[in-house]
C-alpha cells in the first residue's frame, strides 16, 4: 500500500445513492471516509428523507422505490459509526487538496487526499413566457416539497415539460391528494415508439412509466403529449397556462405549475477540482471526463452518480461502488492477490452494467427530446437569466452586434449567468440561444467558467468568531 491510512483523507461529497454506496465500499475496506452532504439527512434528492419526526411511511414517500430507499437509508444508518459524517454542510470551493465548507453559517476547511464527487443533478430549466412568476416550480422542487415536508403545491396544479420525472411527479402528486388538472408532455408519442427498443432494456422502469400514465388517465387527469409553446399568465402569481397542440391553443386556469425538461449534472466542484471536461452529446452538456469506473483526469479525484452524467438512481448506486473500488485499487487495496482479482472482476462487471444502462438513457433522450426549435423561436423579450434580468434579445444582440461566439464572452458582455445562481439555472438556455444565434454548436459555444462559491456564502462566514455580530 502506497499510503498509510492515517495519512489518507478521503472525502465523499454527497450522500445520495452514489455517495452512500461509495462510503459503504470504503468502510468495508476498513477506511473511514469523510462524507459531506448539503442535506440534513442522507438519501440525496431521490431518496430524500423528511426531517426527524415526520411520520409518512417509506411507501407513501417513495412508492415503487420504497424498498430501495429503505435499503439505502438502512445501509447508511449502519455506516454512521464507521464514517465521519458532516450533514447540512455545503462544499463551496475546491482547490487542489482542500475543500472550503460552510456549516451553520461558519466557514471551515477540509483537506483531502482523495475525493469522490457525488454531486447529483438539477432540473434542466427552459425559460418560457411567465416562467419567473411565483407559483411556477421545477419538477424537482415540487417533489422536494412532497418528500421533505409532506406538502404539495396548493390549488390546481399543472405538470408540464418532458422527461420521466413528469409522469412520476404527476402520479405522486395526485396520489398525495393534490389537484392535478393537466399533464402536458412536450414530447410526442411517436418519439416514444422510436425509443421503445432502447427503453425495453429496462422493462421494469419502462413499465412503471406506462403504469403512471394509465393510473393518471384512470383518475381522470387529462394527459396531453406533443404540447408546444407553453406560457404562464398571471399578475402577482400564476393564474393560467396556455399551450398549443396541433395548431390549436388551449388555456387552463391553475394556481401552480411544476415544470422541467430533464436533468443537468451539477459539475461545479469537478471543474474547481481541475477535472478535464468533454462535451457529452447525450446529455448536451460539458461533463467531467472519466473512465468507466469514475476516475477523472485528476489523480485522486473520482466521480459517481448523476453529477457525472444523468443515469438515474440505480446506476448511481453502482457507480458509487465502482468509484470507491477504483479508489481502493489505486491505493493498491485489497493487497491480497485473490481479493485483488475479485475486485478487478467486480469493477469490470460494474463498468459493463453502467454502459448498458447508458443505452437505456439514450432511449429516454429519444423519447423525451428537448425542444430543438426553442432557442430559435423564443421571443426577444423572454427573460433567460432571471437573477440579472437578461433577455433572449440582449443575448442575440450581443451575437449580432459584437460578434460574440463564446459563452464566457457573452457573460462578460451581457451579465448573463452573473447573478446568484451563477448560471446553474440559466447557463444551458443561454448557451442554446448563443449557439443558435451564432450558428455554432452548443459544444462550440463553450461552458461557463465556474468561480467559487458554488452557491452564495454569507460575508459573515469570512469573519473570525469574535467579529461575528
Amino acid at each position: 500500500m502506497s499510503a498509510s491510512p492515517a495519512s489518507l483523507q478521503i472525502v465523499i461529497v454527497g450522500a445520495g445513492p452514489a455517495g452512500v454506496r461509495a462510503a459503504q465500499t470504503l468502510a468495508e475496506a476498513g477506511l473511514r471516509p469523510i462524507v459531506i452532504d448539503e442535506n440534513r439527512r442522507a438519501g440525496g434528492q431521490i431518496y430524500r428523507q423528511p426531517p426527524p419526526g415526520f411520520v409518512r411511511s417509506k411507501k407513501e414517500l417513495y412508492g415503487f422505490e420504497a424498498a430501495k430507499a429503505e435499503a439505502l437509508h438502512d445501509s447508511f444508518e449502519q455506516l454512521r459509526a464507521k464514517i465521519d459524517y458532516r450533514p447540512d454542510t455545503l462544499v463551496w470551493n475546491c482547490t487542489p487538496g482542500q475543500l472550503d465548507l460552510l456549516h451553520a453559517q461558519r466557514h471551515a476547511e477540509q483537506p483531502y487526499t482523495h475525493l469522490i464527487l457525488c454531486t447529483g443533478a438539477l432540473d434542466r430549466v427552459m425559460p418560457f413566457p411567465g416562467w419567473t412568476l411565483p407559483g411556477v416550480y421545477t419538477l424537482g422542487a415540487a417533489q422536494v416539497a412532497l418528500k421533505a415536508q409532506g406538502c404539495v403545491l396548493d390549488g390546481r396544479v399543472v405538470v408540464a415539460g418532458s422527461g420521466p420525472l413528469l409522469y412520476l411527479l404527476a402520479y405522486q402528486y395526485a396520489k398525495a391528494g393534490a389537484d392535478v388538472v393537466a399533464v402536458l408532455d412536450t414530447a410526442r408519442f411517436g418519439g416514444k415508439l422510436r425509443a421503445l427498443p432502447a427503453l425495453l432494456r429496462q422493462p421494469a422502469t419502462f413499465a412503471k412509466g406506462l403504469y403512471f400514465m394509465s393510473w393518471l388517465r384512470a383518475k381522470g387527469v387529462p394527459l396531453f403529449d406533443g404540447v408546444d409553446d407553453i406560457a404562464a399568465d398571471g399578475k402577482q402569481t400564476i393564474q393560467s397556462l396556455r399551450w398549443t397542440r396541433g395548431g390549436k391553443t388551449t388555456e387552463i386556469a391553475c394556481d401552480a405549475l411544476a415544470t422541467g425538461f430533464g436533468l443537468r449534472s451539477e459539475t461545479q466542484l469537478a471543474e474547481l477540482a481541475g477535472c478535464r471536461f468533454v462535451f457529452n452529446e447525450l446529455n448536451q452538456q460539458w461533463l467531467p471526463q472519466c473512465d468507466d469506473v469514475g476516475r477523472s483526469s485528476v489523480p485522486g479525484v473520482y466521480l459517481a452518480g448523476d453529477g457525472s452524467g444523468i443515469a438515474g438512481a440505480d446506476a448511481a448506486e453502482l457507480s458509487g461502488r465502482a468509484a470507491a473500488l477504483a479508489l481502493l485499487q489505486d491505493l493498491n487495496l485489497p493487497a491480497n492477490a485473490a481479493a485483488k482479482a475479485a475486485s478487478a472482476e467486480e469493477s469490470r462487471r460494474l463498468a459493463q452494467t453502467l454502459r448498458s444502462n447508458l443505452q437505456f438513457r439514450q432511449g429516454l433522450e429519444t423519447a423525451f427530446p428537448t425542444a430543438v426549435h426553442w432557442a430559435r423561436d423564443c421571443a426577444d423579450d423572454l427573460v433567460i437569466c432571471r437573477c440579472e434580468e437578461i433577455t433572449a434579445g440582449q443575448l442575440r444582440r450581443s451575437v449580432q452586434q459584437e460578434g460574440t461566439v463564446e459563452i464566457n464572452r457573452l457573460k462578460a458582455l451581457t451579465r448573463v449567468g452573473m447573478g446568484r445562481c451563477q448560471g446553474r439555472i440559466c447557463g444551458a438556455a443561454a448557451a442554446e440561444i448563443l449557439a443558435h444565434a451564432a450558428g455554432v454548436s452548443v459544444a462550440e459555444a463553450g461552458r461557463l467558467r465556474v468561480q467559487a462559491p458554488v452557491k452564495p456564502i454569507p460575508v459573515g462566514a469570512a469573519l473570525a468568531e469574535e467579529e461575528q455580530a
Binding site: H107, E402, R409, G419, R420, P453, P458, A462, L463
Partner: protein, 385 residues
C-alpha cells in the same frame, strides 16, 4: 509553430496585446490616420483590463503618475464620445479611509503633495466623516475624499475600447498568440499561431504581464512579475455606498455598482501566465471581507456570489514601463501597470500615439522609462531579433 501564410499584412503600427492600453492606443492612432493591427492571444480585454476592480481613481497615485492620471481624467469625463459607451462610468468620488492617526497623517501628507498637481482632496475628521456617510463604521479614523474620482465597469470599458478601435479601422487579430518576433533594422515582422504575418514600422508592446518577455526578445531588460488580484462580488443590495472606497495600506477596495452589487478587491489570488489559470484565494477573500466589514458594518449580512482573479504585471517600484525601447528603435512599451492601469489607459493610448507620430510625449513619462531597470548584459535573445 504554424506555417506562414503567403500574405503579409503591412501596417504602420503593430500592437501586441488587445487590452485597454493596446486598444486605446489603436483608437488614437486611427484618429491620426495610422494603420494599426492589434494581435491578441485571447479575446480583447478579457485579461486584467476586463476583470480588474474598475477604480477610476487618481487619489493615492505616486507623484510621477499624477500628470498622466490627470490627463486620463479629462478623457474619462468625455468617454461616451470617445468610445460610444459610458461603461457605467460614474464620478462618484473616491474615499480613502484612515484606521489610525498615523494613517490620517499619511493622508494629510498626500493631500499636501497632490495639491501641487491640481488634485483637490478634502480631508474629513471622524465626526464629519460619519455625519456625511453614516454607513461608515466607528473604527474609521477619518478619510480623504477625491470628489471627482469614481469607478466604471471594466468588462464593458475594455470591450468598448476594442470595438471603438475596430470601428475606427484598426484590425484586430484575436485568439492567436504571436509566435515569431523579428526586427530587420527597419521593420518588425511578427507571425501569429495561425500563420498570419504582420510587418510594421512601429511595434507597441502592450502585453501586460507578458510584457517583460516581449521586451526581452528585443533586448530590453525589465523586472516584472505576474500578480493575481483577488476579487469578490456580493449579491445586489439596496443602495448603501455611493463612493468607491479604499483604505490606507490597501487592505481592501470596494464599490457598489448601479445594480446594487458590491465589488470588492484585496490581496492576491493564485495563477500562472496561462490564460484562464487564475484562481482567487479564500484567505485573501476573507481578509478583504473582514477589512471591508470593519469599515462598513452593514455589509456583514450580505452574500458573496462570485470570486475571481486575473493576470496583471507588477514591477518592483510599482510604476509601469511606458516609452521607447532602450535597444530597438520603433519599439514602444506600455505594460507592468502593477494593478493600477485602468484609470490611466486612455491617456496612455494618447501618449503612445504621440510617441509614434511626434516622437515625444506631451505628458512627462521619464519615470516610467525602461532604462530605469538595472543595466545588464544584453540578453542572448537579442541576437535572434
Amino acid at each position: 509553430m504554424s506555417r506562414p501564410t503567403d500574405k503579409v499584412i503591412d501596417t504602420d503600427v503593430a500592437i501586441i496585446g488587445g487590452g485597454l492600453m493596446g486598444t486605446s492606443a489603436a483608437l488614437e492612432l486611427r484618429r491620426q490616420q495610422r494603420s494599426v493591427v492589434v494581435l491578441e492571444q485571447g479575446w480583447c480585454g478579457a485579461q486584467a483590463s476586463g476583470v480588474n476592480y474598475g477604480g477610476v481613481r487618481r487619489q493615492g497615485r505616486a507623484a510621477c503618475q499624477l500628470p498622466l492620471s490627470q490627463r486620463a481624467h479629462a478623457i474619462w469625463r468625455r468617454l461616451g464620445q470617445t468610445i460610444g459607451s459610458d461603461g457605467e462610468y460614474i464620478a462618484s468620488g473616491h474615499l480613502k479611509l484612515a484606521r489610525s492617526d498615523a494613517d490620517m497623517q499619511e493622508l494629510i501628507a498626500y493631500r499636501d503633495m497632490a495639491t501641487a498637481y491640481g488634485l483637490e482632496l478634502e480631508l474629513l475628521e471622524p465626526d464629519a466623516l460619519r455625519r456625511r456617510y453614516p454607513w461608515i463604521g466607528d473604527k474609521a479614523h477619518g478619510a480623504s475624499l477625491c470628489a471627482e474620482d469614481g469607478h466604471a465597469n471594466p468588462r464593458l470599458i475594455a470591450a468598448a475600447f476594442a470595438r471603438a478601435a475596430e470601428q475606427a479601422g484598426a484590425r484586430l487579430l484575436q485568439q492567436s498568440a504571436v509566435e515569431d518576433f523579428r526586427f530587420d533594422g527597419n521593420y518588425f515582422l511578427l507571425q501569429n499561431s495561425r500563420g498570419v504575418r504582420v510587418r510594421s514600422r512601429f511595434l507597441l508592446n502592450c502585453s501586460g504581464a507578458w510584457g517583460k518577455e516581449i521586451a526581452q526578445r528585443f533586448g530590453d531588460t525589465v523586472s516584472e512579475q505576474a500578480i493575481y488580484p483577488n476579487m469578490c462580488v456580493t449579491e445586489p443590495l439596496p443602495p448603501l455606498m455611493s463612493l468607491s472606497l479604499g483604505v490606507v495600506g490597501g487592505a481592501f477596495y470596494a464599490r457598489q455598482v448601479e445594480r446594487g452589487n458590491v465589488v470588492l478587491g484585496g490581496g492576491r489570488g493564485d495563477g500562472n501566465l496561462a490564460l484562464d489559470a487564475t484562481r482567487p484565494r479564500t484567505s485573501s477573500s476573507f481578509k478583504a471581507l473582514a477589512a471591508l466589514t470593519e469599515m462598513v458594518p452593514a455589509l456583514r449580512n450580505a452574500l458573496v456570489i462570485r470570486t475571481w482573479s486575473g493576470v496583471e504585471g507588477e514591477t518592483p517600484d510599482h510604476q509601469p514601463v511606458i516609452g521607447p525601447s532602450a535597444a530597438t528603435p520603433g519599439l514602444l512599451h506600455a505594460f507592468g501597470f502593477s494593478g493600477a492601469g485602468f484609470q490611466l489607459a486612455p491617456a496612455v493610448g494618447e501618449v503612445l500615439a504621440e510617441l509614434v507620430t511626434k516622437g515625444e510625449s506631451s505628458t512627462p513619462i521619464e519615470a516610467f522609462s525602461v532604462k530605469r531597470f538595472a543595466v545588464q548584459q544584453p540578453s542572448k535573445q537579442e541576437s535572434k531579433v
